[in-house]
Structure formats: structure tokens, C-alpha cells
């Protein structure tokens, strides 16, 4: 017996503006509802959990400044992911490029910091961190452009390599990066000239504003420049690019290097900001992976990434506090990130299609 209903997808000729805003919003709400059911099922109080997360992530002075502080790195990895995603390149190794950004920035802060003043050092550290991130994606970018090797797996595999490298620099006795005369292996603090101080009594660093400005600049770059035009042509139809004489290989490499550099910049903001040294705790935080979610939820829109970056930062800050104040595992924050993205992906279908259930016509035999 066939089903009495058939699901019919009708491509929308024009997506109403309100839907583009409404769908992500409803997706987030739906994910929260699903999360509440899950929390209740596993024996936690959903209301308390959400209330605490909301308070600690967004509504208190301490919470919101910490959220904005954390969003700095998430916006970085978000625009890093989006920059490649918009060209249908999937750099999902932002995590590893972020480690390299930290390594590069820490090197600059340790090696050059003592000799240069702060106004030179801070930009220099950020630039060297970005270059290190770009360096880490060079091989995947090159083989993707030349041989067509899937960048998805190569960038990801290099994350595990980067993680080993980071641990090596911290753990190896006599390592340049390792703090001396400390029993437990840990990174050495960068020179003072390479470290920013937070704003007031918060944990928000001025790099936040730099990163927001950068996101807006990229928004303009993609919408208004020839480089952005080229990216759009290649993303939509590589054959049209070939036809028009647009060099897709060069652009592929350029875009991937920039993506790596942005993730590296994220790592560098941690060095001039809250970390000030190499810390292998970063491998447990997954800021690079979170960037993928941040980008996808904003549908690779650079202005939207500022919003989704702050949203996810709040979820994590709220989650962290939650584990301290109650016994709810902080991983609820990461889990909710994944859930929100899954719901947003599902919601996307409603934005693109009119979905209707159609009753199958009864047939007289």
C-alpha cells in the first residue's frame, strides 16, 4: 500500500526576505527545544541549564564581555572557513592552522619581542601568525589546485600533525617555546611588548575590533571587487571561469592560503590576548572546528559571521560556567553547536523550497 501522502518540493522562484532571517532563528529555537528534551531525558534540568547559560553567556557584564572576547577567535576561524567554503573549497583544517598561528605568533613574541616596541610587535605577531597559518595550508592548496586532491581530508589530517607539533614544542626538554624551571611542561610567556592588555577589568581584547573590521572588509571584498567576482564565477561554474580566462588554479591557491592565514590569525589573537604563550590546552577547545559551524550557520556571509560567532561564543561561555556552577558537562555547549547547525541545514530546505504534503489521488479501480 503506497503512502497516502507525497512530499513535494517546489523550488522557490524568489526567497522572501523575512524567510532568510526567520529560518536561522527558528533553527536555533528548534535546536534549543531538542536540547531541552535531551537534557530532561538525561536527568538534567533544561530550564536551569538554559537560564544559567543565557545569564552567564549574554546577560551579565562579565558574561557578555567574556563572550565578545571569545568571539574574537571564533569570528576569525569562522571567516577562515567561510572564505574557502564560498568557493566550494572545504578547508576544515582551520583547527590545525590555528595551532600553527599560535606557534608562529609565539615564536615572534619570544624571539623578536625583547627587541621591538609594542606598536611594531603587535601587528608583527599577528602577521607572522597569519603567515604560519597560510604555510600550513600550502600543501593542501597546491595539490588541490594541481592534482585535484580533496582538500577536505588533507587539511583535516594536517590538524593531527599540527597538534603533535604543538605538543612537541611544549613538551620537549630545552624547547625554545618551553618555560624554564617549571616542573610541569608549559609554554614560555611572550615578551611584554607582544602582549596586549584587556579592556578595563574584562577579558575582552582590542583584537576583537580588528577582527570585526576584517570581517566587514572581506564582505566588501567579495561583493565589490574583481577578486570577489572571480571567486563567485569559479564557485558557481568552473567552466564559465575557464571560458572567460579566469585562472581557477591561482585563485584556488590564493583563496586557500587566505583561509589558512585567517585561521592562523585566530591563533595569533590568542597569543597577543588571553594565552600569551603556547598552551596545549588549546587542542581540547576546538575553536577551529567551531569556525566551520559559525560559517555554515551564517551561510558564509561575512557580516552574518560576526553575529553567529558571538552567538556561539556565548553558548560556550555559558557552557563553561555551567560546569563550574552545576554538574552539567560543559560539552553541552559543543553539542548544541552541532545541533544548531544540523537544524539550520534542515531549515535551509524550507528557505529554498516550498515543501508541501500532497494527498495521493484515490484511484477508482
Amino acid at each position: 500500500m503506497p503512502a497516502p501522502f507525497r512530499i513535494v518540493f517546489e523550488q522557490r522562484a524568489e526567497t522572501p526576505k523575512y524567510l532568510s532571517a526567520l529560518v536561522p532563528l527558528i533553527s536555533v529555537l528548534a535546536a534549543l527545544v531538542a536540547g531541552a528534551l535531551f537534557l530532561t531525558a538525561t536527568g538534567y534540568s533544561a530550564m536551569d541549564t538554559y537560564k544559567n547559560m543565557l545569564d552567564d553567556g549574554f546577560l551579565t557584564y562579565r558574561g557578555i564581555t567574556e563572550t565578545l572576547g571569545l568571539s574574537t577567535v571564533l569570528i576569525c576561524t569562522g571567516i577562515a572557513a567561510a572564505f574557502s567554503f564560498q568557493m566550494n573549497l572545504y578547508n576544515i583544517g582551520g583547527e590545525g592552522q590555528l595551532y600553527l598561528g599560535m606557534i608562529g605568533a609565539a615564536w615572534a613574541g619570544l624571539a623578536l619581542g625583547p627587541h621591538l616596541p609594542s606598536f611594531v610587535m603587535i601587528p608583527l605577531v599577528l602577521i607572522i601568525g597569519s603567515l604560519a597559518g597560510a604555510l600550513w595550508i600550502f600543501v593542501p592548496a597546491f595539490v588541490r589546485a594541481r592534482l585535484g586532491t580533496s582538500e577536505i581530508v588533507t587539511t583535516l589530517l594536517l590538524t593531527y600533525v599540527a597538534s603533535s607539533l604543538l605538543k612537541h614544542f611544549i613538551n620537549t626538554p630545552n624547547s625554545f617555546f618551553r618555560a624554564k624551571n617549571v616542573a610541569f611542561p608549559q609554554g614560555r610567556n611572550v615578551a611584554d611588548s607582544a602582549a596586549l592588555s584587556p579592556i578595563g577589568d574584562t577579558r575582552l581584547y582590542p583584537t576583537f575590533f580588528v577582527v570585526v573590521a576584517l570581517a566587514l572588509f572581506l564582505y566588501w571584498l567579495v561583493k565589490k571587487t574583481e577578486f570577489g567576482y572571480r571567486i563567485q564565477v569559479i564557485a558557481d561554474s568552473p567552466r564559465a571561469a575557464h571560458y572567460a580566462g579566469v585562472n581557477a588554479n591561482k585563485t584556488t591557491i590564493a583563496v586557500m592560503l587566505m583561509s589558512g592565514a585567517l585561521a592562523g590569525l585566530g591563533g595569533a589573537t590568542l597569543i597577543v590576548g588571553p594565552f600569551a604563550r603556547l598552551d596545549q590546552g588549546i587542542t581540547l577547545l576546538g575553536y577551529g572546528y567551531a569556525g566551520i559551524v559559525v560559517a555554515a550557520l551564517a551561510r558564509n556571509n561575512f557580516a552574518g559571521i560576526i553575529v553567529s560567532g558571538i552567538l556561539f561564543a556565548g553558548l560556550r561561555v555559558g557552557g563553561e560556567k555551567l560546569q563550574i556552577s552545576t554538574d552539567t558537562p560543559k560539552h553541552i555547549g559543543v553539542m548544541m553547536q552541532g545541533a544548531i547547525l544540523l537544524f539550520a541545514l534542515g531549515g535551509e530546505a524550507f528557505r529554498r523550497y516550498k515543501i508541501r504534503a500532497v494527498r495521493m489521488k484515490a484511484v477508482a479501480q
Binding site: T225, Q232, S237
Partner: protein
């Protein structure tokens, strides 16, 4: 408007007495967003009959065929098989009722063998496949209708005609009593068409019914027992009897008015050589795609390249446009060398190129008309859209493009309008004024109105002194437009003839590789 639908309708609900039709549609309607594709259409076919659905692109014949085989379901009306109303909820249900469709774009898995393709989807096979007995069965079915084919050959290696044969064998193997052939001759050379018609006769002799879908009047008259003409989703005429009809009448029923697709061939003198090709060869992965091609195109001249798809036409166009590097030989445009200098250089020499693949190669689907105009032009570091906007608006008007304005997205244009945007961009010149226009299959898939416009635009460009290289698989188009015709067969020029004195039989034979030589 004459609508003869009620005369056609037969079956248990409408008339008594007469033998039930093998398959019939009773005032079926189908609506797609924005279009009523079929409007109360009636249709029927008897066993052993060839019944043609005639109509131009977009007339609704493919939609009707899709409903007859179960791919779509009618919004209203119904389908009957042997007089019994049936619900064809899927192509599988259609097959269970002995109805099979042979699609214009073959539905075959290239990597599979012939036999694997034939049995794909069959339910009456054991779970574990016994290759030997399957191969035997497939050969048996194929030969019983005079369609010999090697069941172990890989489909990807077969010619177009052979693939079509696989499709037909597949339908017969699955027990089809009624075969719907969707534009089956569109991809065949004249000799293959003859062979196909023989097979069709063999099948009708065996009691099969053939629904033949076409817009080519000549062959319709040759093959059909009956013809149903569709226009704008409605039946506009219904004609019986093989060869009894004048093609002109059918054409009027199909289009709704008298048409003239022919153009005045250039009687004006042609100027000096714009495109010069010398000993051009192209080797791709060890295969000689083009071998030693030499020809010229002059100012104000249109040279037509005829040939069956896959004989090197696309590669020839791409090589001239600088998209492929030739293995040897030279190309010059307007006297300057363009050999392997890339597409931008070729355009700077005055090349304009309308590729066969409009949406995806010629145009970027997700971009606006405005942005698409910028594709082959000089763009500044910060793209200056404001200065191009007036021109975009002017071109939309001049080329009669149906669009909401310069911001209309390319993918939302109809086929004809997309082609007009492409022509507008290429003819209006980008980096320099256009001297040489290379066009591939400019009218494929367009409706008659758009075909007329596109041909007029090409004609105007020729009159304005541009050199035109027209590459098309539509032999009629080349015969009626080109001043000179070259036939490309396996990457070589197999035949050359002036357009005025060209004989369709000679050109067709050259396309099939039967003759070689240069004629006058």
C-alpha cells in the same frame, strides 16, 4: 482554435463498442509553477501502431509522454491501459503495465556493461546474478527484433546509435508493449535514422505500439500512422494516415502561423580573411581529436561546420577560443597569431564565442545579467557596475530579452532569453569590437520564435561584416544559413561545399563517414 480532443477520446468511459486502445490519456492536465504544460489533452494508441506527438519545444509533448509512462502524474484527467483506468504512480508502475520510455538523454550507466544496463531495475531476476545466462537472454531479446548487440560491451565505449539500441533492448527486455521514443533521431546521422525506422517497423509488426515524439516534420510524415499535434499544452490537430499530409499543414498546426526559418544567403561580396586555420591538430590523452584542419573564414561570411556530436566540433571551437592548446598548427585572427595564447588574448583580437553550453559555460547561472555582461570584459580592481548598468538596460531592450532588468538572475531566464543575453554580450563587443563570432548550436532547445530571432541576429552580424563560424549538429540549420559548409568527421574535414549547392544526401553521407573529398 480547433480542438479535436473529443473526437480522439475513446475507451470505456467515452464510447462503447470499439476495441479499447492499448494506451490512452483522457483530458489530462499538468501544471508546473507558472505554466500549464498540458491542458485537457486526449491521446490514444492502438497495438501495432506508430502514433506521433508533434510539437515544438515547450509544447507539452514531453510532459504528456512523462505522464503516459508514469514519470509525472496528471493533476486532472486519467490514463487508461486496454480501456482500464490505471494509476501510474512511478515509471516502475508504468513498466508493470508494459509502458517504457526511451529518453532523449539516454539513461544508461556508462561504466556498466550492456547486459548490466539492460537488467538494471528488473525484478524478475534471482537475487544473485548469473552473468552467463543474463548475457544470453539479452542477446536473444535483442536479436529477435533485429537489434544485434554485444551484451558484454561497456556502454561508455559505444556509439550514440548503439546506446539508443541498448535503451530499446532494455525496454523490450522488461516486457514493454508500448515504447515511447523521445526525439530518437535528434542524435542520429541519416543512415542511423533509416536503421532505427526499420527497427520500429519490426517492433510494430510484432504488435508493439510506438509513441514517437518529434518536431521534425519530414520524418514524422514518413514513420507515423497517426499524428497528434500539440501547441502551448493543447491539442491543435489530429491527423491520420501515413504520408497523407502536407508538411506545411502540420507546421501550421505546430506553430500556429506560417513561418520562415530560412534566411537570404549572402549574395554580398565577402572581404578579406578574418580567421585563418592552418594544419591544426589536437591530441587529448593520446586520441587525435582534430587532425590537420585548415580553413579560412572571411569578413561577412558564415561558415557552417556540420557533423555528428563528438567528431571534434566542440574542441575545434574551444581551440579557436584559446581554451585548448593545439598539438600543432596555427590559428590567426585578423592577421595576428592567436595560437595557444589563451582566451583573453583571443578576445583582444576580436573573437566572440557563444559556446554550446549556455548556462554553466557561457553564462554564470547564479549571477545577474549585469554581472554576466562583465564576464568577458575588462573588469577594474573594484568592479564598476554602475557604469555598465545603462548598457545592460539598453541591450535587454535591443535584444528583446524578457527580464525584470539588469539584476535578473541568469538561471531564471528561459532558454531562448539566456541565449539572447549571451549573443547580446558577445555581439556587442567587449575588450575590442567583434570581428569573428564562433557560435555552437545557437538554436538548440529554443522555441520557434526564439529560433527566428537568433537566426536573424546572426544574419545581421554577417551583414555587418563579421566573420561567423557556425557549428551545429542541426543539419537543416547549417543548410539554410551557411555560405560554405564543412563536414567534420573524426576530427578531419571530410567534405566541403558551398551552401547554395549543398546536397543533403552528400553532406549526410560525409557526416556518417561514408565519403571523403572536397566538392567544388
Amino acid at each position: 482554435m480547433s480542438n479535436t480532443s473529443h473526437e480522439v477520446a475513446s475507451g470505456p468511459y467515452h464510447s462503447g463498442g470499439a476495441a479499447p486502445s492499448a494506451l490512452s490519456a483522457h483530458s489530462v492536465s499538468k501544471r508546473f509553477p507558472g505554466v500549464l504544460a498540458n491542458d485537457s489533452v486526449d491521446f490514444d494508441i492502438q497495438p501495432g501502431e506508430v502514433h506521433t506527438l508533434l510539437g515544438e519545444n515547450g509544447a507539452g509533448k514531453s510532459t504528456l509522454a512523462a505522464m503516459l509512462c508514469g514519470l509525472y502524474q496528471p493533476d486532472s484527467g486519467y490514463i487508461a491501459r486496454n480501456g482500464q483506468r490505471v494509476a501510474l504512480s512511478s515509471p516502475r508502475a508504468g513498466l508493470q503495465h508494459g509502458i517504457a520510455m526511451v529518453h532523449q538523454h539516454f539513461r544508461l550507466v556508462d561504466r556498466f556493461t550492456v547486459a548490466e544496463n539492460v537488467i538494471l531495475g528488473s525484478r524478475n531476476l534471482s537475487f544473485v546474478l548469473d552473468r552467463r545466462s543474463i548475457n544470453e537472454r539479452v542477446s536473444e531479446v535483442a536479436e529477435s527484433y533485429g537489434l544485434p548487440i554485444d551484451p558484454t560491451a561497456t556502454v561508455g565505449d559505444l556509439s550514440v546509435g548503439q546506446r539508443q539500441r541498448v535503451e530499446i533492448v532494455k525496454a523490450l527486455y522488461q516486457g514493454a508493449e508500448i515504447l515511447l521514443l523521445d526525439e530518437p533521431t535528434a542524435v542520429l546521422v541519416p543512415a542511423e535514422v533509416e536503421k532505427l525506422f526499420e527497427n520500429v517497423h519490426a517492433m510494430t509488426q510484432a504488435g508493439k505500439s510506438i509513441v514517437f515524439i518529434s518536431h521534425k516534420l519530414g520524418e514524422v510524415v514518413e514513420i507515423s500512422d497517426r499524428v497528434t499535434v500539440l501547441r502551448g499544452g493543447k491539442v491543435t490537430g489530429h491527423v491520420s494516415g501515413r504520408g497523407a499530409t502536407d508538411t506545411k499543414d502540420l507546421a501550421r498546426l505546430m506553430v500556429g502561423r506560417d513561418i520562415n526559418l530560412g534566411t537570404q544567403r549572402a549574395s554580398h561580396p565577402t572581404g578579406h580573411e578574418v580567421l585563418q586555420i592552418r594544419d591544426l591538430s589536437l591530441n587529448v590523452n593520446g586520441v587525435n581529436v582534430l587532425s590537420n584542419i585548415s580553413f579560412n573564414v572571411h569578413e561577412g561570411e558564415m561558415v557552417g561546420i556540420a557533423g555528428v556530436a563528438g567528431n571534434g566540433q566542440k574542441e575545434l571551437a574551444d581551440t579557436i577560443a584559446g581554451l585548448l592548446s593545439p598539438t600543432s598548427g596555427s590559428i590567426s585572427i585578423g592577421g595576428a597569431t592567436a595560437t595557444d595564447r589563451g582566451p583573453i588574448h583571443a578576445r583582444e583580437l576580436g573573437l566572440a564565442y557563444v559556446p554550446e553550453d549556455r548556462l554553466g559555460m557561457g553564462l554564470v547561472p547564479s549571477m545577474s545579467i549585469l554581472d554576466n555582461l562583465l564576464l568577458t570584459r575588462d573588469r577594474h580592481i573594484v568592479v564598476d557596475r554602475a557604469s555598465v548598468r545603462p548598457e545592460a538596460t539598453r541591450l535587454i531592450e535591443q535584444f528583446e530579452i524578457k527580464a525584470n532588468g539588469p539584476d535578473h538572475l541568469a538561471r531564471k531566464l528561459s532558454g531562448g532569453n539566456a541565449q539572447k543575453v549571451l549573443l547580446a554580450r558577445e555581439l556587442s563587443g567587449g575588450r575590442t569590437a567583434t570581428k569573428l563570432l564562433v557560435v555552437c548550436s545557437p538554436t538548440r532547445g529554443l522555441d520557434v520564435g526564439a529560433i527566428e530571432t537568433v537566426r536573424r541576429l546572426l544574419d545581421d552580424a554577417r551583414s555587418a561584416g563579421q566573420a561567423i563560424l557556425l557549428i551545429s549538429e542541426d543539419l537543416d540549420e547549417i543548410m539554410s544559413l551557411a555560405d560554405r559548409i564543412l563536414v567534420l568527421y573524426r576530427g578531419s574535414i571530410a567534405h566541403e561545399t558551398p551552401g547554395e549547392t549543398a546536397q543533403i544526401a552528400t553532406v549526410g553521407a560525409a557526416m556518417a563517414g561514408l565519403t571523403t573529398g572536397v566538392n567544388g
